[in-house]
């Protein structure tokens, strides 16, 4: 059985700047995988390319064994990927409930939509309290909840979370990672893209460490956390940065 998501020798360039240089990774069904690296390592470029939002200049992206490299983003999402983008990117002109409903666009069965909505309100009671408020009026933490909730509304097979800790207070970061753990325990496949590598590897089973658009280390979370290169990257050695 092929992994749910497989990235083969992915390359991404912005003009003449090569920001992703032959990255290969895979996420099997039921796994939680972390993609970690310093700011500018190319994490978000990889995810945007997986989602089809940034065109790949080389390599392949396979979802459930099917090559989707040339497919538009909406087709990839329809293949069962939920995506929480970096910076949340909630729809400020829609209220909370309608933001969530846009996330459930692919679900045609209204009963399922209501069930998903109730599930999200169960996970985030704060969103129920704010359901008729415009997205732009929410706090940073609430917007993060909304972005995750919106990505979950389509009942995805794989959830890609880009920088969940970005701009959040430490207590909210801990809550966000607790939620990711809970979702994973419930059986959701997760690809976690994170600058906060320590937190990400506490949650994930496997990980990839990126540096300058290349995977420099991969393995189980515990192997990665204790590896001298990983420690060097995060606690001393200077990284060469590329555009992200």
């Amino acid at each position: 059985m092929p992994p749910f998501l497989e990235v083969q020798n992915l390359q991404v360039s912005y003009g003449r700047a090569r920001v992703v240089r032959g990255v290969s990774l895979e996420v099997a069904a039921g796994e939680c995988v972390a993609l970690v690296g310093a700011n500018g390592a190319g994490k978000t470029s990889i995810i945007r390319s997986i989602m089809g939002l940034t065109p790949a200049t080389g390599g392949r992206v396979l979802i459930n064994g099917a090559d989707v490299t040339g497919a538009p983003p909406w087709k990839r999402a329809s293949a069962g990927i939920g995506y929480m983008p970096e910076g949340r990117r909630i729809f400020s002109n829609l209220n909370v409930e309608r933001n969530l409903l846009v996330g459930a666009y692919q679900v045609r069965d209204q009963t399922r939509v209501r069930t998903s909505l109730e599930r999200i309100y169960g996970i985030f009671p704060r969103l129920r309290e704010r359901q008729s408020q415009f997205g732009s009026t929410l706090s940073g933490g609430e917007q993060q909840m909304l972005a995750i909730g919106r990505a979950l509304m389509s009942d995805p097979r794989l959830l890609i979370i880009d920088e969940v800790s970005m701009g959040l207070a430490p207590v909210l970061v801990s809550q966000a990672f607790q939620l990711i753990t809970r979702l994973h325990v419930e059986g959701l496949t997760i690809l976690l893209v994170e600058q906060n590598a320590k937190k990400a590897l506490q949650v994930a089973e496997r990980g990839y460490l990126l540096e300058s658009g290349r995977v420099v280390l991969s393995g189980t979370a515990s192997d990665l956390s204790g590896h001298p290169d990983f420690v060097g990257t995060y606690f001393g050695r200077t990284c060469t940065t590329g555009a992200e």
């Binding site: 999402a77 002109n93 008729s132 415009f134 732009s136």
Partner: protein, 295 residues
């Protein structure tokens, strides 16, 4: 009496145009500075159908909507990959091309325009100013209902989300291109509807009736009322629709006044009179004790 009915009909046609542009520009965020092109296509389609082929007003309504929708859809498809600034320029270009075609092609009457368009008949009664006023405002009512329905349906959520963040919408599994083209088709069709009413109301049309100035006026109505707000755009259409009568003494400077209004609104209240976050809307919300609520 007739004066007021004529004014009511004229304002009704402006409001129809503003509401139709609101679907393209207000709801979906696609800049369209050449909306008068669709107005003109509808008017000419109705005029040609009526004068050359003897089609009734009611049949011409459908033909006008279909003709404008077809060109709107085509423009939407062609320009779907364009960035917003290029799309704005493309729509201006379409407006000029359409006016030039009407002005030069003999089939459309050339510089002489098309005259002799017969007023509609209903049960043996020929439409006068009162009937036109009723029909135009019944159509306004229907378009308002349609606009509210769109806002409260999935389609409307998708359009608004596209206005906020296209990439994020696409990542939700929504085919953004299809929705943007659909918005163009619906907006253009409704402008065509207004064009049909206009042609039959005036009984004579010429290319200058659909010039770029008209596009700027329609856009001013949407911006003044508040992009995306049905009630606001209706209000913007009414205010700027009656403005030429109120400011008749400065008719030569009408465009200057509209341009000035656009600049002032963008500077001091980018959300317009009743757009989301506008001062008036916030005041209303507070009065209703429902601050920050909306949709």
């Amino acid at each position: 009496m007739n004066y007021w009915m004529v004014l009511l009909t004229t304002v009704g046609i402006w409001v129809l145009l503003a509401l139709s542009l609101n679907i393209i520009t207000g709801e979906t965020g696609q800049p369209n500075i050449g909306h008068a092109a669709f107005f003109g296509i509808g008017a000419y389609a109705a005029a040609v159908a009526g004068t050359r082929y003897g089609v009734s007003f009611w049949g011409a309504l459908v033909i006008a909507m279909l003709a404008s929708a077809a060109i709107g859809g085509l423009l939407g498809l062609v320009s779907i990959r364009l960035r917003n600034d290029f799309l704005a320029i493309t729509t201006i270009g379409l407006n000029f091309v359409v006016v030039a075609v009407f002005q030069t092609v003999p089939y459309f009457g050339g510089a002489m325009g098309i005259g002799g368009i017969k007023p509609p008949q209903l049960g043996g009664l020929s439409f006068g100013p009162l009937e036109f006023a009723i029909v135009s405002w019944v159509l306004v009512g229907l378009v308002v209902l349609l606009s509210y329905h769109l806002q409260r349906a999935w389609f409307g959520y998708a359009l608004r989300a596209i206005r906020d963040d296209e990439a994020a919408v696409e990542a939700m599994g929504i085919n953004v291109r299809r929705y943007k083209v659909l918005a163009f088709i619906i907006g253009a069709a409704l402008a065509g509807l207004a064009g049909c009413v206009y042609a039959h109301f005036m009984t004579f049309i010429s290319s200058t009736d659909f010039s770029f100035n008209v596009s700027v006026t329609i856009l001013s109505m949407v911006v003044l009322g508040g992009r995306g707000s049905v009630l606001g755009v209706l209000l913007g259409g009414v205010l700027l629709g009656i403005a030429p009568e109120v400011f008749r003494f400065i008719s030569n400077f009408r465009l200057l006044v509209f341009g000035g209004i656009l600049v002032l609104v963008m500077r001091f209240s980018p959300s317009g009179l009743l757009g989301q976050g506008s001062w008036l809307r916030e005041r209303f919300a507070r009065l209703r004790g429902a601050d920050l609520h909306g949709g």
